[in-house]
Amino acid sequence: MTAASGSPLLEVRSLSVRYGKVEAVHNVSLRADEGSIVTVIGPNGAGKTTLLGAVMGLLPAQGEVSYRGESLFGLSVEDRVARGLVLVPEKRELFASMSVADNLALGAFARRREGEAATKRALDEVYHRFPRLLERRAQLAGTLSGGERQMLALGRALMGRPKLLMLDEPSLGLAPLVVREIFSIVVALREAGVSILLVEQNARAALQVSDDGYVLETGELVLSGRSSDLAANPKVAATYLGQGAAG
Protein backbone atom coordinates (compact mmCIF):
# COMPACT_ATOMS: atom_id res chain seq x y z
CA MET A 1 0.00 0.00 0.00
CA THR A 2 2.79 2.43 -0.72
CA ALA A 3 2.25 3.85 -4.17
CA ALA A 4 -0.89 5.47 -5.45
CA SER A 5 -3.21 2.66 -6.41
CA GLY A 6 -5.73 4.96 -8.04
CA SER A 7 -8.93 3.81 -6.35
CA PRO A 8 -10.84 6.66 -4.72
CA LEU A 9 -10.59 6.66 -0.94
CA LEU A 10 -12.71 9.74 -0.50
CA GLU A 11 -15.19 11.06 -3.00
CA VAL A 12 -17.10 14.29 -2.44
CA ARG A 13 -19.94 15.09 -4.84
CA SER A 14 -21.75 18.45 -5.05
CA LEU A 15 -21.19 19.33 -1.44
CA SER A 16 -22.81 22.52 -0.13
CA VAL A 17 -22.71 23.89 3.38
CA ARG A 18 -24.94 26.64 4.68
CA TYR A 19 -24.68 28.70 7.83
CA GLY A 20 -28.23 29.89 8.24
CA LYS A 21 -29.00 31.51 4.92
CA VAL A 22 -25.39 31.99 3.93
CA GLU A 23 -23.79 29.38 1.73
CA ALA A 24 -20.14 28.96 2.74
CA VAL A 25 -19.36 26.09 0.38
CA HIS A 26 -21.20 25.68 -2.90
CA ASN A 27 -21.38 22.57 -5.03
CA VAL A 28 -17.86 21.30 -4.42
CA SER A 29 -16.75 17.95 -5.81
CA LEU A 30 -13.37 16.38 -5.23
CA ARG A 31 -11.71 13.03 -4.78
CA ALA A 32 -8.70 11.75 -2.92
CA ASP A 33 -7.11 8.53 -4.14
CA GLU A 34 -5.64 5.97 -1.86
CA GLY A 35 -1.98 6.65 -1.16
CA SER A 36 -2.02 10.21 -2.43
CA ILE A 37 -1.75 13.69 -1.01
CA VAL A 38 -4.49 16.01 -2.20
CA THR A 39 -4.41 19.67 -1.38
CA VAL A 40 -7.10 22.34 -1.31
CA ILE A 41 -5.68 25.83 -1.52
CA GLY A 42 -7.39 29.18 -1.50
CA PRO A 43 -7.43 32.52 0.26
CA ASN A 44 -8.66 33.03 3.80
CA GLY A 45 -12.42 32.86 4.03
CA ALA A 46 -12.76 30.69 0.91
CA GLY A 47 -14.49 27.91 2.83
CA LYS A 48 -11.60 25.47 3.18
CA THR A 49 -12.12 24.80 6.88
CA THR A 50 -15.87 24.53 6.32
CA LEU A 51 -15.25 21.91 3.63
CA LEU A 52 -13.19 19.77 6.01
CA GLY A 53 -15.75 20.24 8.76
CA ALA A 54 -18.46 18.93 6.46
CA VAL A 55 -16.43 15.90 5.37
CA MET A 56 -15.69 15.14 9.00
CA GLY A 57 -19.37 15.42 9.94
CA LEU A 58 -18.89 18.39 12.24
CA LEU A 59 -21.17 20.52 10.05
CA PRO A 60 -24.42 19.54 8.40
CA ALA A 61 -24.02 19.55 4.64
CA GLN A 62 -25.88 18.72 1.46
CA GLY A 63 -24.40 16.50 -1.20
CA GLU A 64 -22.65 13.21 -1.08
CA VAL A 65 -19.52 12.12 0.73
CA SER A 66 -18.36 8.56 0.24
CA TYR A 67 -15.38 6.98 1.86
CA ARG A 68 -13.96 3.63 0.73
CA GLY A 69 -17.03 3.24 -1.44
CA GLU A 70 -19.43 3.67 1.47
CA SER A 71 -21.66 6.71 1.97
CA LEU A 72 -20.93 8.62 5.15
CA PHE A 73 -24.51 9.90 5.34
CA GLY A 74 -25.89 9.76 8.86
CA LEU A 75 -22.58 8.75 10.43
CA SER A 76 -21.46 10.78 13.42
CA VAL A 77 -18.01 12.31 13.77
CA GLU A 78 -17.03 9.46 16.09
CA ASP A 79 -18.21 6.82 13.60
CA ARG A 80 -16.07 8.46 10.94
CA VAL A 81 -13.05 8.55 13.25
CA ALA A 82 -13.55 4.86 13.97
CA ARG A 83 -13.47 4.21 10.21
CA GLY A 84 -10.06 5.85 9.91
CA LEU A 85 -11.08 9.36 8.84
CA VAL A 86 -9.21 11.73 11.12
CA LEU A 87 -9.01 15.52 11.14
CA VAL A 88 -6.29 17.73 12.58
CA PRO A 89 -8.18 21.02 12.88
CA GLU A 90 -6.78 24.48 12.39
CA LYS A 91 -7.18 25.26 16.07
CA ARG A 92 -5.56 21.90 17.00
CA GLU A 93 -8.23 21.38 19.70
CA LEU A 94 -5.85 19.76 22.18
CA PHE A 95 -6.79 18.91 25.75
CA ALA A 96 -4.89 21.83 27.20
CA SER A 97 -5.09 20.90 30.88
CA MET A 98 -4.02 17.29 30.27
CA SER A 99 -0.56 15.87 29.73
CA VAL A 100 0.98 15.14 26.34
CA ALA A 101 0.81 11.42 27.14
CA ASP A 102 -2.89 11.67 28.03
CA ASN A 103 -3.60 13.55 24.81
CA LEU A 104 -1.90 10.83 22.82
CA ALA A 105 -3.61 8.03 24.72
CA LEU A 106 -6.98 9.58 23.94
CA GLY A 107 -6.08 9.69 20.26
CA ALA A 108 -6.39 5.90 20.36
CA PHE A 109 -9.80 6.02 22.03
CA ALA A 110 -11.60 4.86 18.90
CA ARG A 111 -9.19 1.90 18.73
CA ARG A 112 -9.53 0.93 22.39
CA ARG A 113 -10.88 -2.49 21.53
CA GLU A 114 -7.71 -3.45 19.64
CA GLY A 115 -5.91 -3.95 22.91
CA GLU A 116 -3.08 -2.34 24.80
CA ALA A 117 -0.35 -3.86 22.68
CA ALA A 118 -1.68 -2.10 19.57
CA THR A 119 -1.91 1.20 21.46
CA LYS A 120 1.61 0.78 22.74
CA ARG A 121 2.86 0.13 19.21
CA ALA A 122 1.11 3.22 17.90
CA LEU A 123 2.50 5.27 20.77
CA ASP A 124 6.04 4.06 20.11
CA GLU A 125 5.67 4.98 16.48
CA VAL A 126 4.45 8.47 17.34
CA TYR A 127 7.28 9.01 19.81
CA HIS A 128 9.70 7.75 17.18
CA ARG A 129 8.33 10.22 14.66
CA PHE A 130 8.20 13.08 17.18
CA PRO A 131 11.00 12.58 19.72
CA ARG A 132 10.09 15.99 21.17
CA LEU A 133 6.76 14.62 22.36
CA LEU A 134 8.54 11.86 24.25
CA GLU A 135 10.64 14.49 26.04
CA ARG A 136 7.53 16.46 26.88
CA ARG A 137 5.20 13.56 27.63
CA ALA A 138 4.50 14.64 31.23
CA GLN A 139 4.00 18.30 30.33
CA LEU A 140 0.53 19.81 30.00
CA ALA A 141 -0.52 20.34 26.40
CA GLY A 142 -1.42 23.96 27.11
CA THR A 143 2.18 24.82 27.94
CA LEU A 144 3.65 23.62 24.64
CA SER A 145 5.01 25.94 21.97
CA GLY A 146 3.21 26.34 18.65
CA GLY A 147 5.31 23.79 16.81
CA GLU A 148 5.01 21.26 19.61
CA ARG A 149 1.25 21.75 19.66
CA GLN A 150 1.06 20.96 15.98
CA MET A 151 3.22 17.87 16.53
CA LEU A 152 0.97 16.77 19.36
CA ALA A 153 -2.12 17.33 17.24
CA LEU A 154 -0.58 15.24 14.45
CA GLY A 155 0.54 12.63 16.96
CA ARG A 156 -2.89 12.40 18.51
CA ALA A 157 -4.40 11.95 15.06
CA LEU A 158 -1.89 9.23 14.18
CA MET A 159 -2.75 7.34 17.37
CA GLY A 160 -6.13 6.71 15.71
CA ARG A 161 -4.31 4.95 12.81
CA PRO A 162 -6.01 7.01 10.12
CA LYS A 163 -6.52 5.82 6.55
CA LEU A 164 -7.26 9.38 5.48
CA LEU A 165 -5.72 12.19 7.45
CA MET A 166 -7.17 15.65 6.94
CA LEU A 167 -4.87 18.49 7.88
CA ASP A 168 -6.20 22.03 8.24
CA GLU A 169 -3.42 24.59 7.86
CA PRO A 170 -0.69 22.50 9.47
CA SER A 171 1.92 25.20 8.82
CA LEU A 172 -0.08 27.92 10.54
CA GLY A 173 2.08 30.08 12.76
CA LEU A 174 5.09 27.80 12.59
CA ALA A 175 8.72 28.70 11.99
CA PRO A 176 10.11 27.68 8.55
CA LEU A 177 12.17 24.90 10.05
CA VAL A 178 9.14 23.45 11.77
CA VAL A 179 7.05 23.85 8.62
CA ARG A 180 9.70 21.93 6.73
CA GLU A 181 9.61 19.21 9.36
CA ILE A 182 5.82 19.00 9.29
CA PHE A 183 5.76 18.72 5.53
CA SER A 184 8.43 16.07 5.47
CA ILE A 185 6.33 14.12 7.97
CA VAL A 186 3.34 14.54 5.69
CA VAL A 187 5.32 13.03 2.83
CA ALA A 188 6.60 10.25 5.08
CA LEU A 189 3.04 9.45 6.13
CA ARG A 190 2.07 8.92 2.53
CA GLU A 191 4.95 6.46 2.26
CA ALA A 192 3.48 4.71 5.30
CA GLY A 193 0.18 4.29 3.49
CA VAL A 194 -1.78 7.19 4.93
CA SER A 195 -3.64 9.27 2.38
CA ILE A 196 -3.79 12.96 3.10
CA LEU A 197 -6.21 15.78 2.39
CA LEU A 198 -4.27 18.97 3.02
CA VAL A 199 -5.80 22.40 3.35
CA GLU A 200 -3.19 25.12 3.20
CA GLN A 201 -2.72 28.82 2.75
CA ASN A 202 0.96 28.15 2.12
CA ALA A 203 0.11 27.28 -1.48
CA ARG A 204 3.63 26.82 -2.71
CA ALA A 205 4.56 24.28 -0.08
CA ALA A 206 1.24 22.49 -0.42
CA LEU A 207 1.52 22.16 -4.20
CA GLN A 208 5.09 20.92 -3.91
CA VAL A 209 4.27 17.97 -1.68
CA SER A 210 0.88 17.02 -3.10
CA ASP A 211 -0.19 14.90 -6.04
CA ASP A 212 -3.43 16.65 -6.90
CA GLY A 213 -4.76 20.07 -6.03
CA TYR A 214 -7.98 22.02 -5.94
CA VAL A 215 -8.36 25.78 -5.76
CA LEU A 216 -11.27 27.02 -3.68
CA GLU A 217 -12.46 30.62 -3.90
CA THR A 218 -15.49 32.13 -2.12
CA GLY A 219 -16.88 28.67 -1.52
CA GLU A 220 -16.53 27.36 -5.06
CA LEU A 221 -13.94 25.28 -6.85
CA VAL A 222 -12.33 27.38 -9.55
CA LEU A 223 -9.48 25.12 -10.64
CA SER A 224 -8.27 21.59 -10.16
CA GLY A 225 -5.62 19.31 -11.58
CA ARG A 226 -2.24 17.77 -10.97
CA SER A 227 -0.39 19.83 -8.42
CA SER A 228 2.57 20.36 -10.72
CA ASP A 229 0.25 21.76 -13.39
CA LEU A 230 -1.45 24.03 -10.90
CA ALA A 231 1.87 25.36 -9.66
CA ALA A 232 2.73 26.23 -13.23
CA ASN A 233 -0.64 27.81 -13.96
CA PRO A 234 -0.01 31.57 -14.28
CA LYS A 235 -3.33 32.46 -12.65
CA VAL A 236 -2.59 30.34 -9.61
CA ALA A 237 0.92 31.68 -9.54
CA ALA A 238 -0.34 35.25 -9.55
CA THR A 239 -3.08 34.84 -7.00
CA TYR A 240 -1.88 32.24 -4.58
CA LEU A 241 1.83 32.02 -4.96
CA GLY A 242 2.15 35.76 -4.59
CA GLN A 243 4.16 36.14 -7.76
CA GLY A 244 1.73 38.66 -9.14
CA ALA A 245 2.02 40.74 -6.03
CA ALA A 246 5.71 40.31 -5.64
CA GLY A 247 6.28 41.39 -9.19
Partner: protein, 345 residues
Protein backbone atom coordinates in the same frame (compact mmCIF):
# COMPACT_ATOMS: atom_id res chain seq x y z
CA UNK B 1 -21.18 26.39 74.16
CA UNK B 2 -18.63 24.11 75.72
CA UNK B 3 -16.06 21.94 74.05
CA UNK B 4 -18.10 18.76 74.02
CA UNK B 5 -21.02 20.44 72.27
CA UNK B 6 -18.67 22.04 69.75
CA UNK B 7 -17.08 18.66 69.11
CA UNK B 8 -20.49 17.10 68.63
CA UNK B 9 -21.56 19.85 66.24
CA UNK B 10 -18.29 19.57 64.33
CA UNK B 11 -18.76 15.84 64.04
CA UNK B 12 -22.27 16.34 62.69
CA UNK B 13 -21.06 19.02 60.32
CA UNK B 14 -18.23 16.91 58.97
CA UNK B 15 -20.49 13.92 58.49
CA UNK B 16 -23.06 15.92 56.56
CA UNK B 17 -20.31 17.81 54.78
CA UNK B 18 -18.84 14.55 53.54
CA UNK B 19 -22.17 13.65 51.95
CA UNK B 20 -22.53 17.13 50.45
CA UNK B 21 -19.01 16.77 49.07
CA UNK B 22 -20.02 13.64 47.18
CA UNK B 23 -23.03 15.45 45.79
CA UNK B 24 -20.92 18.45 44.87
CA UNK B 25 -18.51 16.18 43.01
CA UNK B 26 -21.28 14.60 40.99
CA UNK B 27 -22.72 18.03 40.17
CA UNK B 28 -19.34 19.33 39.06
CA UNK B 29 -18.77 16.20 36.98
CA UNK B 30 -22.14 16.39 35.25
CA UNK B 31 -21.78 20.09 34.53
CA UNK B 32 -18.22 19.84 33.26
CA UNK B 33 -18.96 17.03 30.82
CA UNK B 34 -22.52 17.75 29.69
CA UNK B 35 -23.18 21.42 30.69
CA UNK B 36 -26.27 20.19 32.54
CA UNK B 37 -26.95 21.76 35.93
CA UNK B 38 -28.25 18.58 37.44
CA UNK B 39 -31.15 19.73 39.56
CA UNK B 40 -32.75 16.26 39.96
CA UNK B 41 -29.65 14.88 41.71
CA UNK B 42 -31.53 15.17 45.01
CA UNK B 43 -34.21 12.79 43.79
CA UNK B 44 -31.54 10.16 43.13
CA UNK B 45 -30.39 10.53 46.74
CA UNK B 46 -33.90 10.33 48.16
CA UNK B 47 -34.91 7.41 45.93
CA UNK B 48 -31.81 5.54 47.02
CA UNK B 49 -32.69 5.86 50.71
CA UNK B 50 -36.31 4.97 50.02
CA UNK B 51 -35.32 1.93 47.97
CA UNK B 52 -33.08 0.65 50.73
CA UNK B 53 -35.80 1.30 53.30
CA UNK B 54 -38.25 -0.56 51.07
CA UNK B 55 -35.93 -3.55 50.78
CA UNK B 56 -35.76 -3.61 54.57
CA UNK B 57 -39.48 -4.20 54.53
CA UNK B 58 -39.19 -6.75 51.75
CA UNK B 59 -40.61 -4.42 49.11
CA UNK B 60 -39.10 -3.21 45.84
CA UNK B 61 -42.14 -2.13 43.89
CA UNK B 62 -41.28 1.58 43.95
CA UNK B 63 -37.92 1.52 42.28
CA UNK B 64 -38.91 -1.42 40.07
CA UNK B 65 -41.88 0.52 38.77
CA UNK B 66 -39.69 3.52 38.02
CA UNK B 67 -37.17 1.35 36.18
CA UNK B 68 -39.86 -0.34 34.11
CA UNK B 69 -41.42 2.99 33.16
CA UNK B 70 -38.11 4.48 32.08
CA UNK B 71 -37.01 1.30 30.31
CA UNK B 72 -40.17 1.35 28.21
CA UNK B 73 -39.74 5.00 27.26
CA UNK B 74 -36.05 4.52 26.43
CA UNK B 75 -36.93 1.52 24.30
CA UNK B 76 -39.55 3.50 22.40
CA UNK B 77 -37.02 6.26 21.78
CA UNK B 78 -34.55 3.74 20.37
CA UNK B 79 -37.15 2.30 18.01
CA UNK B 80 -38.07 5.82 16.94
CA UNK B 81 -34.49 6.82 16.25
CA UNK B 82 -33.81 3.58 14.38
CA UNK B 83 -36.89 4.28 12.28
CA UNK B 84 -35.72 7.82 11.56
CA UNK B 85 -32.22 6.82 10.53
CA UNK B 86 -33.34 3.63 8.75
CA UNK B 87 -30.68 1.83 10.72
CA UNK B 88 -32.09 -1.38 12.15
CA UNK B 89 -28.91 -3.38 12.58
CA UNK B 90 -27.97 -1.90 15.92
CA UNK B 91 -31.48 -1.87 17.32
CA UNK B 92 -31.52 -5.28 19.07
CA UNK B 93 -28.34 -4.51 20.94
CA UNK B 94 -29.60 -1.09 21.94
CA UNK B 95 -32.94 -2.44 23.05
CA UNK B 96 -31.16 -5.04 25.12
CA UNK B 97 -29.10 -2.32 26.79
CA UNK B 98 -31.80 0.31 27.22
CA UNK B 99 -34.85 -1.83 27.90
CA UNK B 100 -33.66 -5.35 28.64
CA UNK B 101 -31.06 -4.46 31.24
CA UNK B 102 -33.26 -2.16 33.36
CA UNK B 103 -36.13 -4.66 33.15
CA UNK B 104 -33.76 -7.38 34.31
CA UNK B 105 -32.64 -5.23 37.25
CA UNK B 106 -36.26 -4.55 38.14
CA UNK B 107 -36.98 -8.27 37.92
CA UNK B 108 -34.08 -9.19 40.18
CA UNK B 109 -35.20 -6.60 42.72
CA UNK B 110 -38.77 -7.87 42.74
CA UNK B 111 -37.52 -11.42 43.11
CA UNK B 112 -34.92 -10.69 45.79
CA UNK B 113 -36.88 -8.26 47.95
CA UNK B 114 -39.20 -10.76 49.69
CA UNK B 115 -36.27 -13.12 50.32
CA UNK B 116 -34.90 -10.64 52.89
CA UNK B 117 -31.29 -10.78 51.71
CA UNK B 118 -28.48 -9.61 54.00
CA UNK B 119 -28.06 -5.83 54.50
CA UNK B 120 -24.97 -5.66 52.30
CA UNK B 121 -26.84 -7.29 49.42
CA UNK B 122 -29.71 -4.87 49.93
CA UNK B 123 -27.26 -1.99 49.67
CA UNK B 124 -25.76 -3.44 46.50
CA UNK B 125 -29.19 -3.91 44.94
CA UNK B 126 -30.06 -0.33 45.84
CA UNK B 127 -26.86 1.01 44.28
CA UNK B 128 -27.41 -0.95 41.07
CA UNK B 129 -31.05 0.04 40.73
CA UNK B 130 -30.60 3.76 41.42
CA UNK B 131 -27.48 3.93 39.27
CA UNK B 132 -29.46 2.52 36.36
CA UNK B 133 -31.77 5.53 36.54
CA UNK B 134 -28.82 7.80 35.67
CA UNK B 135 -28.09 6.70 32.12
CA UNK B 136 -31.82 6.15 31.52
CA UNK B 137 -32.64 9.74 32.43
CA UNK B 138 -29.77 10.93 30.23
CA UNK B 139 -30.99 8.88 27.28
CA UNK B 140 -34.59 10.00 27.62
CA UNK B 141 -34.24 13.61 28.66
CA UNK B 142 -30.85 15.10 27.88
CA UNK B 143 -29.39 13.24 24.91
CA UNK B 144 -32.04 14.48 22.44
CA UNK B 145 -31.09 18.09 23.29
CA UNK B 146 -27.43 17.67 24.18
CA UNK B 147 -26.48 20.66 22.02
CA UNK B 148 -29.05 23.06 23.50
CA UNK B 149 -28.02 26.10 25.52
CA UNK B 150 -27.18 25.84 29.21
CA UNK B 151 -30.43 27.68 29.94
CA UNK B 152 -32.62 25.19 28.09
CA UNK B 153 -30.75 22.26 29.65
CA UNK B 154 -31.30 23.85 33.03
CA UNK B 155 -35.02 24.35 32.48
CA UNK B 156 -35.30 20.76 31.30
CA UNK B 157 -33.44 19.70 34.44
CA UNK B 158 -35.98 21.50 36.57
CA UNK B 159 -38.84 19.95 34.62
CA UNK B 160 -37.30 16.53 35.17
CA UNK B 161 -36.98 17.37 38.85
CA UNK B 162 -40.72 18.06 38.98
CA UNK B 163 -41.58 14.92 37.07
CA UNK B 164 -39.37 12.79 39.29
CA UNK B 165 -40.88 14.36 42.41
CA UNK B 166 -44.34 13.40 41.22
CA UNK B 167 -43.17 9.91 40.27
CA UNK B 168 -41.47 9.63 43.66
CA UNK B 169 -44.73 10.31 45.43
CA UNK B 170 -46.50 7.81 43.19
CA UNK B 171 -43.99 5.00 43.57
CA UNK B 172 -42.63 5.53 47.08
CA UNK B 173 -45.59 7.13 48.84
CA UNK B 174 -45.68 10.16 51.09
CA UNK B 175 -44.37 8.63 54.29
CA UNK B 176 -40.78 9.13 55.33
CA UNK B 177 -38.24 6.38 55.94
CA UNK B 178 -35.09 5.89 57.86
CA UNK B 179 -32.73 2.95 57.47
CA UNK B 180 -31.05 1.18 60.39
CA UNK B 181 -27.58 2.39 61.36
CA UNK B 182 -24.65 0.49 59.90
CA UNK B 183 -23.05 0.31 63.29
CA UNK B 184 -23.90 1.39 66.80
CA UNK B 185 -20.29 1.50 67.95
CA UNK B 186 -18.95 4.68 69.51
CA UNK B 187 -15.39 5.59 70.27
CA UNK B 188 -14.01 7.78 72.99
CA UNK B 189 -11.23 9.90 71.53
CA UNK B 190 -9.75 11.86 74.39
CA UNK B 191 -13.10 12.75 75.86
CA UNK B 192 -14.82 13.27 72.53
CA UNK B 193 -17.41 10.69 71.66
CA UNK B 194 -17.21 9.76 68.01
CA UNK B 195 -19.93 7.58 66.55
CA UNK B 196 -18.93 4.70 64.34
CA UNK B 197 -21.73 5.76 62.04
CA UNK B 198 -20.07 9.14 61.39
CA UNK B 199 -16.70 7.53 60.85
CA UNK B 200 -18.19 5.12 58.37
CA UNK B 201 -19.88 7.90 56.41
CA UNK B 202 -16.71 9.99 56.26
CA UNK B 203 -14.55 6.97 55.42
CA UNK B 204 -16.91 5.88 52.64
CA UNK B 205 -16.94 9.38 51.16
CA UNK B 206 -13.18 9.65 51.24
CA UNK B 207 -12.78 6.20 49.73
CA UNK B 208 -15.27 6.98 46.98
CA UNK B 209 -13.54 10.26 46.18
CA UNK B 210 -10.23 8.42 46.04
CA UNK B 211 -11.60 5.79 43.67
CA UNK B 212 -13.08 8.46 41.44
CA UNK B 213 -9.75 10.30 41.36
CA UNK B 214 -8.04 7.08 40.29
CA UNK B 215 -10.68 6.54 37.64
CA UNK B 216 -10.20 10.02 36.18
CA UNK B 217 -6.44 9.93 36.23
CA UNK B 218 -5.59 6.36 35.39
CA UNK B 219 -8.22 4.86 33.14
CA UNK B 220 -8.85 5.60 29.48
CA UNK B 221 -12.57 6.16 30.09
CA UNK B 222 -11.89 8.50 32.97
CA UNK B 223 -9.49 10.49 30.83
CA UNK B 224 -12.03 10.50 28.02
CA UNK B 225 -14.52 12.21 30.33
CA UNK B 226 -11.94 14.78 31.36
CA UNK B 227 -11.10 15.36 27.72
CA UNK B 228 -14.77 15.97 26.89
CA UNK B 229 -14.96 18.46 29.73
CA UNK B 230 -11.82 20.28 28.55
CA UNK B 231 -12.53 20.35 24.83
CA UNK B 232 -15.71 18.94 23.36
CA UNK B 233 -14.67 19.31 19.73
CA UNK B 234 -11.25 17.84 20.39
CA UNK B 235 -12.87 14.89 22.13
CA UNK B 236 -15.18 14.23 19.21
CA UNK B 237 -12.25 14.36 16.82
CA UNK B 238 -10.51 11.76 18.96
CA UNK B 239 -13.58 9.56 18.57
CA UNK B 240 -15.15 10.15 21.98
CA UNK B 241 -18.85 10.58 21.35
CA UNK B 242 -20.68 13.13 23.49
CA UNK B 243 -23.58 10.70 23.94
CA UNK B 244 -21.20 8.08 25.28
CA UNK B 245 -19.51 10.57 27.58
CA UNK B 246 -22.88 11.81 28.78
CA UNK B 247 -24.11 8.33 29.51
CA UNK B 248 -20.98 7.39 31.40
CA UNK B 249 -21.11 10.65 33.34
CA UNK B 250 -24.71 10.13 34.38
CA UNK B 251 -23.96 6.56 35.38
CA UNK B 252 -21.13 7.71 37.63
CA UNK B 253 -23.08 10.64 39.02
CA UNK B 254 -26.10 8.46 39.76
CA UNK B 255 -23.85 5.94 41.48
CA UNK B 256 -22.40 8.66 43.67
CA UNK B 257 -25.89 9.92 44.51
CA UNK B 258 -27.01 6.38 45.28
CA UNK B 259 -24.13 6.16 47.74
CA UNK B 260 -25.21 9.46 49.29
CA UNK B 261 -28.71 8.10 49.77
CA UNK B 262 -27.41 4.98 51.48
CA UNK B 263 -25.15 7.08 53.71
CA UNK B 264 -27.77 9.59 54.85
CA UNK B 265 -30.45 6.93 55.39
CA UNK B 266 -29.50 6.25 59.00
CA UNK B 267 -28.88 9.95 59.78
CA UNK B 268 -32.17 11.56 58.77
CA UNK B 269 -35.68 10.61 57.87
CA UNK B 270 -36.00 10.86 54.12
CA UNK B 271 -39.20 11.65 52.24
CA UNK B 272 -39.76 11.47 48.49
CA UNK B 273 -39.10 15.22 48.29
CA UNK B 274 -36.20 15.47 50.75
CA UNK B 275 -33.55 15.34 48.06
CA UNK B 276 -33.86 18.87 46.73
CA UNK B 277 -32.62 20.65 49.85
CA UNK B 278 -29.81 18.15 50.32
CA UNK B 279 -28.64 18.54 46.74
CA UNK B 280 -28.87 22.33 47.02
CA UNK B 281 -26.33 22.17 49.79
CA UNK B 282 -24.10 20.10 47.59
CA UNK B 283 -24.70 22.84 45.05
CA UNK B 284 -23.45 25.50 47.39
CA UNK B 285 -20.29 23.44 47.78
CA UNK B 286 -20.00 23.04 44.02
CA UNK B 287 -20.46 26.76 43.48
CA UNK B 288 -17.69 27.50 45.95
CA UNK B 289 -15.59 25.33 43.66
CA UNK B 290 -16.75 27.42 40.72
CA UNK B 291 -18.47 24.35 39.24
CA UNK B 292 -15.08 23.28 37.98
CA UNK B 293 -12.64 22.54 40.80
CA UNK B 294 -13.18 19.21 42.55
CA UNK B 295 -11.01 19.86 45.64
CA UNK B 296 -12.52 23.31 46.18
CA UNK B 297 -16.01 21.87 45.81
CA UNK B 298 -15.24 19.22 48.43
CA UNK B 299 -13.80 21.82 50.79
CA UNK B 300 -16.78 24.08 50.20
CA UNK B 301 -19.17 21.23 51.01
CA UNK B 302 -17.38 20.58 54.27
CA UNK B 303 -17.73 24.25 55.08
CA UNK B 304 -21.45 24.05 54.31
CA UNK B 305 -21.84 21.06 56.60
CA UNK B 306 -20.05 22.78 59.47
CA UNK B 307 -21.85 26.05 59.00
CA UNK B 308 -25.17 24.25 58.92
CA UNK B 309 -24.54 22.32 62.09
CA UNK B 310 -23.21 25.28 64.07
CA UNK B 311 -25.91 27.65 62.89
CA UNK B 312 -28.58 25.13 63.81
CA UNK B 313 -27.25 25.46 67.34
CA UNK B 314 -27.05 29.24 67.47
CA UNK B 315 -29.86 30.37 65.23
CA UNK B 316 -31.79 27.37 64.10
CA UNK B 317 -34.57 29.41 62.50
CA UNK B 318 -32.01 31.08 60.25
CA UNK B 319 -30.04 27.93 59.52
CA UNK B 320 -30.97 27.80 55.84
CA UNK B 321 -30.60 31.55 55.40
CA UNK B 322 -27.05 31.39 56.76
CA UNK B 323 -26.08 28.38 54.66
CA UNK B 324 -27.41 29.78 51.41
CA UNK B 325 -26.24 33.36 51.87
CA UNK B 326 -22.75 31.91 52.31
CA UNK B 327 -22.64 31.88 48.53
CA UNK B 328 -22.84 35.64 48.27
CA UNK B 329 -19.53 36.46 50.04
CA UNK B 330 -17.89 33.56 48.21
CA UNK B 331 -19.06 34.93 44.90
CA UNK B 332 -18.00 38.42 45.91
CA UNK B 333 -14.55 37.12 46.64
CA UNK B 334 -14.44 35.30 43.30
CA UNK B 335 -15.75 38.37 41.56
CA UNK B 336 -13.03 40.56 42.99
CA UNK B 337 -10.21 38.11 42.38
CA UNK B 338 -11.10 36.92 38.90
CA UNK B 339 -11.13 39.08 35.82
CA UNK B 340 -14.56 39.87 34.53
CA UNK B 341 -14.98 38.67 31.04
CA UNK B 342 -16.99 37.87 28.03
CA UNK B 343 -20.12 35.80 28.40
CA UNK B 344 -20.68 34.57 24.90
CA UNK B 345 -22.16 31.18 24.60
Amino acid sequence: MDFSIAALLAQDGITNGAVYALLALSLVLVFAVTRVIWVPSGEFVAFSTLTLAGLQLGKASGIAGLLVAMAVVAGLLEVLSAFRQREWKRLPLRLAAWTGAPLAIAGVLKWAAPLAPPFVVQILLTLVAVTALGPLSYRIVYQPIAEASVLVLLIVSVALHFAMLGLGLWYFGAEGSRTPPFTSATFDWGGVLVSGQSLLVVATSVALIFVLALFFNRTLYGRALRATAVNRVGARLAGISPAFAGMLTFTLAALVCAFCGVLIGPITTVYYDSGFLVSLKGFVGAIIGGLSSYPLAAAGSLLVGLLESFSSFWASAFKEVIVFTLIIPVLLWRSLTSQHHDDDE
